[in-house]
């Protein structure tokens, strides 16, 4: 493994073992995250992007768990580590996360300061006072008043809570930060401010950032490389310059077209609905909605084909 990789994910599978059957939320996903890079994971709800995000810390909520594959970080395989090892070596120290919906991601009964200080106490063994002092130092970097440490989460607005979450994610200076829909449920202006914040912090802290979102316009504004997921599979990945300019996979094409634009009026959509992940169809999972579908698509699952300088797509059109 070359040393400029922050994460190396190989053939990852994450399943939810529900009463109604096994939901294959992530199925055979491989990608690499370079150090200092910003990678976007895009796709619609239920495509497995959030699950993938959680699995990168090996923290898939039950009844889900990693069913196979590897996630290498500094030569360690996160997918195969014990809870205790993960806790001591990986979580928050190496990989931290900004959760979707910050309103619920903060413990309601603890003060902001206590929550920010907690990772410092747990991982660095600081005393509470020291930890809170340390935490106060990071708050201005996310545009918050340090005195906020004495407040409770419900006293803050949604945007402020999200800033607290971001500060918390950075407090141990991890190598990788995963931001899972960090701006959903926020208003346009706050969203733009948070995105600005992420961009500037990324430079300052030199972290590798994984941004998970369903909104491709947000992706375009932030990420260097973009991976598109559909029904538990990664269907296309490439530098965002290349991918936005010339999307190869029919799903990516449809998705890009679905974004309303200010430059030209027009409404487009992809007919049909995603398949049931408990019982995915044979062959390409997008076949039912694909305008270019042919026989082979329904028979065999397409592997990733190299389709550009940095671009790969899982589609038989490029065999």
């Amino acid at each position: 493994m070359s040393s400029d990789l922050a994460l190396d994910v190989r053939d990852l599978r994450v399943y939810y073992y529900t009463y109604a059957g096994v939901v294959k939320a992530v199925e055979g996903v491989s990608f690499q995250l370079r150090k200092g890079e910003t990678l976007g994971l895009a796709g619609e709800s239920g495509c497995g992007k959030s699950t993938l995000g959680f699995s990168l810390m090996n923290l898939v909520p039950p009844p889900g768990r990693i069913a196979g594959g590897s996630i290498f970080l500094d030569g360690m395989d996160i997918a195969k580590m014990s809870e205790e090892e993960l806790r001591r070596k990986i979580r928050w120290k190496k990989v931290s996360m900004v959760f979707q919906g910050a309103m619920n991601a903060l413990t309601p009964v603890y003060k902001i300061g206590d929550q920010l200080a907690e990772p410092l106490m747990v991982h660095k063994g600081l005393e509470k006072n020291e930890a809170i002092e340390e935490a106060k130092k990071i708050l201005p970097k996310v545009g918050l008043d340090p005195e906020i440490v004495n407040r409770y989460p419900h006293e803050l607005s949604g945007g402020m809570k999200q800033r607290v979450m971001i500060a918390m994610a950075l407090v141990l200076r991890p190598e990788v930060v995963i931001a899972d829909e960090p701006t959903t449920a926020l208003d346009v202006i706050v969203q733009a401010q948070i995105l600005n914040l992420l961009k500037s912090l990324k430079k300052e802290f030199n972290i590798s950032l994984i941004l998970i979102s369903h909104d491709l316009s947000i992706m375009a504004e932030v990420v260097e490389r973009l991976a598109i997921m559909y029904a538990g599979k990664m269907v296309e990945i490439g530098s965002s310059d290349e991918l936005f300019a010339d999307p190869k996979h029919p799903y990516t094409q449809g998705l890009l077209k679905s974004i309303p634009k200010l430059t030209e009026k027009g409404l487009h959509y992809i007919p049909g609905t995603p398949p049931d992940l408990r019982n995915p169809p044979q062959g390409c999972r997008f076949a039912d909605r694909c305008p270019f579908v042919f026989d082979k698509c329904r028979r065999e699952e397409p592997p990733m084909f190299k389709v550009g300088k940095t671009q790969y797509a899982a589609c038989w059109l490029y065999e």
Binding site: E83, R91, G101, N104, A105, V109, V122, H154
Partner: protein, 353 residues
């Protein structure tokens, strides 16, 4: 500030409840109590006139007239000449001042027939039994509940759920009878009742141990019947909290599982636990009263039993008031606890949920 306002509101609430309960009791009992007072007055008047050698020379008619005058005087003094609603109010205020008059049959250990003396003698014993039982139950209940919540579907979890269902409808006092039968009558390892041996040990240390020995069986019964329900309530609440996003945040932060459970989760779950605890405690008071009677534990429960057996109305009324008092202020104490635990009340957002 908001806390103060919230609590002030609760205290006023509690006082109103007390007053209303007393008013109801006074209305219900008015006739009974007044009859008794009238009898007392008549007896006293007769005694004053007939037993007094000063009046020995008087004719029967004179004496009778004097008696009637005395009766009238006392009736005025006791306010019996007032209209009904004033009398009832008078009685209510009297009771609120812990003034319940004299018992008809029962007496305190010191021989005092004053109802408040009798009750005050019994009260600490009840508090001893009830609070120890509650504390032990809370500790066991919460620990087991959290364990069960972290292992949903395990043997422990299912046992607790089943046990909780079973004890939900178990009369605590009946369990007491069964335990007495088994542990005292059959095995003979615990005393069958009472608070101290007869004669009581002289030395204070031995006395305390003796009380503890007598306390053990009723305490076990209390805990046995109650901890299942509390574990189950804790389990459900904790289970709910465990699905919240912030638990995931804490896990992602690498916080040890124990700290997540006993910190983040329990801290968040504690306000609703307090609420359900309040209900559980209130529900168990009735059972505890009867249990005291079964164990012959000389607290207010047994006093209730004896007062009813002897038809001692003043004591019954006094006890009703005291139990309402305890009940209402137990709720109040838990409200305080709630206010301290939930930061949303501290700043006055949640209000009186």
């Amino acid at each position: 500030m908001a806390v103060v306002r919230y609590l002030a509101f609760r205290i006023v609430n509690a006082l109103i409840i007390l007053f209303l309960v007393l008013l109801i009791t006074a209305v219900m009992m008015n006739e009974y109590v007044e009859d008794q007072i009238r009898t007392d007055i008549r007896e006293r008047a007769y005694q004053e006139i007939y037993r007094n050698p000063q009046y020995a020379q008087w004719t029967e008619e004179q004496k009778q007239r004097a008696v009637q005058e005395r009766i009238k005087f006392y009736e005025q003094q006791y306010g019996l000449d007032q209209p009904y609603h004033i009398r009832v109010l008078y009685r209510t205020v009297d009771a609120m001042m812990f003034n319940f008059g004299n018992a008809m049959v029962l007496k305190s250990a010191g021989g005092s027939p004053v109802v408040s003396d009798i009750i005050l003698e019994a009260l600490p014993r009840t508090i001893l039994l009830f609070t120890t039982g509650t504390i032990v139950t809370i500790v066991i209940g919460i620990l087991l509940g959290i364990k069960a919540a972290t292992k949903v579907g395990s043997l422990l979890d299912r046992t607790i759920s089943t046990f909780a269902m079973f004890t939900y409808s178990l009369p605590m006092w009946w369990v007491g009878m069964i335990f007495i039968f088994y542990f005292s009558y059959t095995l003979g390892i615990f005393p069958s009742g009472g608070m101290v041996s007869i004669p009581p040990p002289e030395e204070p240390m031995a006395y305390a141990l003796d009380v503890l020995y007598h306390l053990a069986l009723p305490l076990i019964v209390f805990v046995f019947v109650n901890f299942g329900g509390w574990s189950y309530a804790t389990r459900s609440i904790v289970l709910n909290v465990l699905t919240e996003d912030f638990v995931n945040t804490a896990r992602a932060k690498g916080v040890p599982e124990r700290k997540i459970l006993y910190g983040h989760v329990l801290r968040t779950a504690s306000p609703p636990i307090v609420t359900s605890t309040t209900l559980a405690i209130l529900g168990s008071i009735g059972g505890a009263i009867i249990t005291e009677a079964v164990f012959n534990w000389p607290g207010i429960g047994r006093l209730f039993y004896q007062a009813i057996l002897n038809g001692d109305m003043p004591v019954v009324i006094g006890l009703t008031y005291i139990s309402t008092f305890l009940y209402v202020f137990a709720i109040l104490a838990l409200d305080f606890a709630y206010a301290l635990l939930d930061p949303r009340i501290k700043v006055g957002v949640g209000g009186g949920r």
